[in-house]
Symmetry: C2
DNA sequence: CGCTTGATTTAGTCATGCCTAAATTTGCAG
DNA sequence: CTGCAAATTTAGGCATGACTAAATCAAGCG
C-alpha cells in the first residue's frame, strides 16, 4: 500500500538526477544512465524507480525497459532541492566566505535538511538572488527557472565576443584554475585563432590570450542571446 | 565484526541523550530513561546500546541490566554534536534573525550534517561565542565546557538577588513568554515574598514584580557564584 | 526471421533502526 | 527468604536502500 510522507536524501538524489539527465526536452532516462550518474548499481536503481512509481502520489512515470520521467510532483520536489542547493552555495560563498570550489560539497548534503523556513531566511538575507556562484539559475519558490541556451566555450565560434554565463561546479581543481584565469560568470571572452586539438586560445576580459586545457574549456559555458 | 566509520543521526542522538542524562557525576543511564528521553521503545534502546558497545571503538560502556556510560570516544562525539547545535542556534538567531523560540528545532536536525569546515566558519563569523541564545555554554573544539552550577528560579531563595544564566529551550511557547517578561540570560532578578503553590513572585531587572507560572519558573536557571 | 549481446529486471542478502510480544532478571516488600 | 512487579533483554518483524548473481528483454545483424 505504499507510503505518503516526505522524501529522503536517497529519493531527492534520484529526482535531481532524473531532472538533470532528462534535459530540457524531458526525455526518458534509463536505469543505466541513473546508475552511472549516482554511482549505484543498475539493479538498485530499478528497485528505487519501481518504488517511486508506486507511491500514493508517484514521483516518476515508469515503464519497464523504457526508462522513467518525472511526474509533476517529482519535478516539483527536484526543483525545490535544486533551489536549496543553489541558495546554500550562494549563502556559503557570500556570507561565510567559502571559496567557490568548496560550496558544492557542503550544499550537496545540506540541501536535503534545511526547512522551508531556513530556505526563506537565506533567500531574504541574500536579497533573493537569481544565480548561484557558478552562474546556475536558482529556481523560484514556484519552480520557475530562468532557462538559457548555453554553449561550451570549446565550441564557441572564433572571433565572436561572448559572455560567460556559468561554469561546471563538479571539479574543485578546475574551479580554482578558472578563478585564477578570471573565467567567472559575467566575464566577456573572445576566442582567438590558433585552435589545436581540443584546446582553445581565449582572450579573457580583453587581457592577453591564454591557452586552455580541454577539461577547463569544456566546463565554461557561454550564454547565447545576451 | 562491527563497523568503524562515522556516526549517524540516530547514534548522535543516543550519545547526546546519554551525556545529558548522566549528569555531571557521569552516572550510569538506564535503558528506560533513554527510551523516555528519546521517545523510543526500551527494546529498541537495548539493541542500539549493544551495538554502540560492540563497535571497534565503542561509544559506550554497557553492562546488561545496569545501564550505560559514555566511553571517551562517545563523550567526544556527544560534545561535538552539542557544539554544532549551540553554534547553529547562535548563528540562526544572530545572522538569520530567527526568534529564539525557533532555533532549537532547526539546529536539532542540522547539527548532524554540518562539516567541521562549516562549524569553523560559523564560529569564526560569530567571533567564537561562549553561549547559545538560551545561555547554554558552547563546548570548545577540544571538548572543554565552561560548567556552572545553576538553580531553578522556582527554588532560588527569596530576597537574594540573582542573575539568569540560562533558560530551557525545549518549549517554544514558554520561550516566547519568557522573552515577553524579560527573562533572558544576563538579566538580574529578585524573588519577592508571597509564595503560593509552585508559582513565584519575581522582580525582573528592578521592574514591578510579576507572578510566574510554575512551568515558566522551572525553566529559568540562576547562576550560583556569579 | 532467429541470435547474440548489452541493457534491465528479478531474486535473494545485508545493514541500519525501530516496533511488538514474550521471556528474563532485578530488587524490594512482606 | 520469597515472590511479584517493574525494568530490561531476547525474538521475530518491518521499512529503507544498496549489492551480487541470475534471469529476461530488446535490438540490431546476418
Ligand atoms: Mn544530495
Ligand atoms: Mn553550483
Ligand atoms: Mn538530532
Ligand atoms: Mn539552546
Amino acid at each position: 500500500m505504499t507510503k505518503s510522507s516526505a522524501s529522503t536524501e536517497a529519493v531527492d538524489d534520484y529526482l535531481k538526477a532524473i531532472l538533470e539527465l532528462s534535459g530540457p526536452a524531458d526525455a526518458r532516462v534509463t536505469s543505466n544512465a541513473l546508475a552511472a550518474h549516482l554511482s549505484i548499481r543498475a539493479a538498485s536503481v530499478t528497485g528505487m524507480l519501481q518504488k517511486l512509481a508506486a507511491l500514493e502520489t508517484p514521483f516518476v512515470l515508469y515503464e519497464k525497459h523504457r526508462g522513467v520521467r518525472l511526474s509533476p510532483a517529482g519535478r516539483r520536489r527536484a526543483l525545490e532541492v535544486i533551489r536549496h542547493h543553489r541558495l546554500l552555495e550562494r549563502f556559503l560563498h557570500d556570507v561565510l566566505d567559502y571559496p567557490w570550489d568548496e560550496v558544492h560539497e557542503e550544499a550537496e548534503r545540506l540541501e536535503h535538511y534545511i526547512s522551508e523556513r531556513l530556505e526563506d531566511r537565506i533567500a531574504a538575507r541574500l536579497g533573493h538572488p537569481g544565480h548561484d556562484p557558478h552562474g546556475h539559475p536558482i529556481p523560484a519558490k514556484n519552480g520557475a527557472v530562468a532557462e538559457r541556451t548555453e554553449v561550451e566555450l570549446s565550441r564557441w565560434p572564433c572571433g565572436v565576443p561572448g559572455t560567460i554565463s556559468s561554469v561546471s561546479d563538479r571539479d574543485p581543481a578546475a574551479l580554482r584554475e578558472m578563478k585564477r584565469l578570471g573565467l567567472v560568470p559575467g566575464t566577456s571572452v573572445l576566442i582567438e585563432p590558433g585552435a589545436r586539438t581540443g584546446s582553445v586560445l581565449v582572450r579573457v576580459a580583453g587581457q592577453t590570450p591564454t591557452r586552455l586545457a580541454p577539461e577547463i574549456a569544456a566546463g565554461v559555458l557561454i550564454g547565447e542571446g545576451s
